[in-house]
Amino acid sequence: MGASIVTLVLGVSIAAFFMWTNHNGQKRDRERDWGK
């Protein structure tokens, strides 16, 4: 059970981290396009 919880936490953490970086990158691209 412990291993399953670790797998879940790790998977969700990886997903959340890459969603965050993806959002940051898109935001920076938009700011560059608009010259902000």
Partner: protein
């Protein structure tokens, strides 16, 4: 003084691309007389254009000051050392986002492969097996979805 590319876009669809002189220290932009004359002529029949200057990957809006000169606000200089590395990870470019998405799809495939293997190797379908297999499947689908969003690229 440096040369920089500017683009003047009018609502009617006319776009003028020209090179200007830029002072990076002050942000002052010196337009060639040809471009000034063209813009004055266009102003007779067009609305105010979108006036942008390309500098180090940025498109900076060019503002007209009260004395008739042109100015851009210069972007901050990039940081150095570990902050630059962290900055590159936290703010990936479009291509880097695509690579991250591919990596997530690899992890997703591994997770779903693990799910199938886990179910097939378990002798009985008890509670622990069901929970473990479900978590692997959920993580596989979640990673696929986040990778899918990252592949969008816009």
């Amino acid at each position: 003084m440096k040369l920089a590319k500017v683009k003047v876009e009018y609502t009617g669809g006319t776009t003028i691309t020209e090179r200007v002189t830029l002072d990076p220290a002050t942000g002052q932009v010196l337009l060639p007389p040809r471009l000034r004359a063209l813009m004055e002529k266009m102003d007779e029949s067009e609305c105010s254009p979108a006036f942008g200057l390309e500098y180090k990957g940025f498109v900076l809006p060019v503002a007209v000051l009260a004395d008739g000169t042109y100015q851009v606000s210069m972007p901050a200089e990039p940081q150095s050392g570990i902050r630059q590395v962290l900055n590159a990870v936290a703010y990936p470019s479009k291509d880097q986002r695509q690579q991250n998405a591919r990596y997530l799809h690899t992890l997703s495939a591994a997770s779903l492969g693990g799910f199938v293997g886990y179910v097939h190797t378990s002798s009985s379908l008890d509670f622990q097996t069901i929970v473990g297999a479900t978590i692997l499947a959920v993580v596989g689908v979640l990673l696929w979805y986040v990778g899918f969003i990252g592949m969008k690229g816009d």
